[in-house]
């Protein structure tokens, strides 16, 4: 992709860094010499996780084992959610964004965090009380199963597909960058390992891969932050003051007048060019905030804990770890400004990072902990991608086997052994599809795909979930068709927005001028559900509405809740 296209994509491209796609990696990248320390560390991680998968496989016999992993605590689930949510690209992307422009990186980070309270306040406990394996269990609870589950499965596949493509392409490029392995190897290794985890270990192995990865990421980042803070006498004031001094000196060397250079140096402490257009900014903010509450692989994690109480604790812990992680990335970005800006080993004469735009934290790791620690951080980044893709694959496989095969085709009477087999076959097909898509999209700008996944989840799944849980007037037709309209609205608005309409189709003017559809497509989804339900005079609509009080009672009290540890 050309640099111009990146600028054209503007906001979305930048957002791609934080959302898990790898805009900057696509931008300027050189393959690195093969890094054996990193490969050895990564092999160690893979060895441990495969051993866990082996243990998990011996205990994965029933469909419930496969989908829920037999139950974990709220604390463990919180860590697994953090592992699922903090992508390698946000680690590399946010720190590099701060290294280049200062404050702006924090704005994305905050957008990602504020989705969690919404999940907690509106859906988490009701979801846990009503559901068993997938969020469609909850969305279709009192409705005709076929239409609502079909919608949920289609919507899950859309969201997962976009998220997965971005992760696979990102993984290939990251591995090329960090390990010096060819793209094709990298994609095949990621796809293959993810298949093994999910196929044999199901949710139990996936959870532990995510937990181990979260602990490694948090420990590695903490160690780096301590290293940075030790250099500045553990004073934030000194850290920021030195970062301003560095940026001022760089601007002076670039030929600016002393006054202009001082202003440029100070500019890193305030918001810069990231938010130009308030509507786009708010729209993207809403996609992040509400999309989190509609991501199938995140919602599925609630069924791994026994009750609403543990589900709430999971979110609190997830928020603690994710918030802590983003605070660390902020400090690391400024640490990178101070510690690597003038080192010719890390930055070339033009001031660009060696090895590509996203390498700031990698160079910082080398500056603080040498080759060994660089290897460790590289291995963590790769492990991170594996954990995210395993969670995505599991949620898509469940949508096919549990929602489509068992509930729609077999009306809930599928043979559990066959259901398990279907989910495993689906996992293999998804693994192959992920590898193929990763190769097909290798040269494409995938940066906007994760933000698109968030926008789709916010416009389809989120309204359906909220309306079916909280509005007694919602009907089968309203949920299935209204949700589909919200989903399509988000998709259509994205196609006619600048990132596709101008950059891909080559039109001069975009029909929809903003970079994220959520501010418009989310209300469309809610309105469509309300309108269709209100006009619905079918006999089924009466049954749907009559079922509300019982559903509400169960969602509020937890009577009849499915414990993942009981079979």
């Amino acid at each position: 992709m050309t640099r111009n296209l990146w600028r054209g994509a503007g906001l979305l491209t930048l957002l791609g860094w934080a959302t898990g796609a790898n805009a900057a990696i696509v931008g300027a990248m050189q393959r690195q010499p093969t890094n054996w320390t990193a490969i050895a560390m990564f092999a160690g991680f893979v060895g441990i996780t495969l051993w866990i998968t082996g243990v998990a496989a011996r205990r994965t016999r029933t469909v419930s084992d496969f989908y829920t992993g037999g139950g974990i605590t709220g604390f463990q689930n919180g860590l697994a959610m953090a592992g699922d949510y903090c992508s390698a690209a946000s680690f590399l992307g946010i720190t590099s964004q701060i290294f280049n422009d200062g404050y702006d990186g924090l704005i994305y980070a905050i957008g990602f965090l504020v989705g969690w309270p919404i999940v907690l306040f509106l859906v988490a406990e009701k979801l846990r009380n009503l559901g068993r394996f997938t969020f469609a269990d909850v969305a279709s609870y009192r409705f005709l199963q076929g239409p609502v589950r079909s919608f949920s499965a289609v919507s899950t596949l859309f969201v997962v597909a976009f998220y997965l493509i971005a992760q696979m392409v990102g993984a290939g490029q990251l591995v090329q960058l960090l390990f010096g392995l060819p793209y094709l190897y990298a994609i095949t290794v990621v796809g293959g390992l993810m298949m093994v985890y999910v196929l044999f270990g199901g949710m139990r192995a996936t959870s532990w891969v995510q937990i181990i990865k979260a602990v490694m990421l948090l420990c590695g980042a903490t160690f780096l932050v301590v290293g940075v803070m030790a250099q500045v006498g553990f004073s934030f004031e000194t850290l920021f003051a030195r970062a301003i001094a560095v940026k001022t000196r760089l601007a002076l060397e670039g030929g600016l007048s002393p006054a202009a250079a001082a202003a440029k140096g100070r500019a890193i402490m305030g918001p810069g060019g990231f938010i130009k257009d308030p509507i786009s900014a708010l729209s993207f903010g809403f996609a992040l905030m509400l999309g989190t509450a509609g991501l199938p692989h995140i919602l599925m994690r609630f069924f791994t804990v026994p009750n609403a109480r543990e589900a709430r604790k999971s979110i609190l812990w997830a928020t603690v770890w994710i918030g802590y992680f983003y605070a660390l990335t902020f400090i690391l970005g400024f640490g990178a400004i101070v510690l690597i800006s003038f080192n010719p080993a890390y930055v070339d004469v033009a001031g660009a990072l060696r090895g590509g735009n996203n390498m700031a934290v990698m160079h910082l790791a080398h500056a603080i902990g040498g080759n060994l620690f660089l290897g460790f951080i590289s291995a963590v980044a790769f492990a991170t991608i594996l954990a995210v893709v395993a969670g995505l694959t599991l949620s898509a496989a469940s949508a096919i086997s549990h929602d489509v095969y068992a509930s729609v085709f077999h009306k809930g009477d599928a043979d559990p052994t066959k259901e398990l087999r279907v989910s495993r076959i689906t996992t293999i097909l998804l693994g192959i599809a992920a590898i193929v898509l990763g190769i097909v999209f290798q040269k494409q700008n995938v940066a906007f795909m994760v933000s698109l996944a968030f926008a789709l989840a916010a416009s389809g799944n989120f309204p359906v979930l909220v309306m079916s849980l909280l509005w007694k007037g919602c009907t089968t037709n309203g949920a299935a068709w209204g949700g589909a309209i919200g989903l399509l609205a988000a998709l259509a608005l994205t196609i006619v927005s600048p990132v596709i309409w101008i950059a891909v189709f080559g039109f001069d003017q975009a029909i929809f001028p903003y970079s994220s559809p959520a501010l418009f497509s989310v209300p469309t989804g809610f309105l469509a559900i309300w309108l269709i339900s209100t006009l619905d005079r079918s006999p089924r609509a009466a049954i749907d509405k009559a079922g509300y009080p019982e559903q509400r009672l169960r969602s509020e009290t937890g009577i009849g809740v499915h414990d993942p540890a009981m079979h």
Partner: protein
């Protein structure tokens, strides 16, 4: 269908009839919507402040290097965790106790 094997409609009828059930649902719902509204309003204000008044956000606090934007950003990160903690504390404490008492007396 996901409906658990033993729907106990007599138990459910007793819960519906109990005024403590309606009160619990109303209180918890009001609390969760209040916190949702706070989250949405605070976050929208933060984004709007950045969109409309960048010079204000870049202003240093107390003459040092740390700016208003950094302080507000930190407040947003910490505040998000705190608002979750506030909800979990009340939901896992007060509300769960009321629910347990209600279920114990109708069973």
């Amino acid at each position: 269908m996901q409906t658990p094997a033993t729907p106990d409609s007599a138990l459910e009828a007793r819960i519906f009839a109990d005024p403590r059930y309606a009160a619990l649902v109303r209180d918890r719902q009001r609390f969760s919507w209040t916190l949702t509204a706070i989250t949405v309003i605070v976050y929208s204000s933060f984004i709007s402040l950045i969109a409309f008044d960048k010079p204000l956000m870049a202003r240093p606090i107390g003459g040092g290097a740390i700016s208003l934007a950094v302080v507000l950003g930190a407040v947003m990160l910490v505040g998000t965790v705190v608002i979750c903690a506030v909800y979990v504390r009340r939901a896992n404490g007060d509300y769960d106790q009321r629910l347990a008492a209600l279920l114990a007396s109708v069973r």
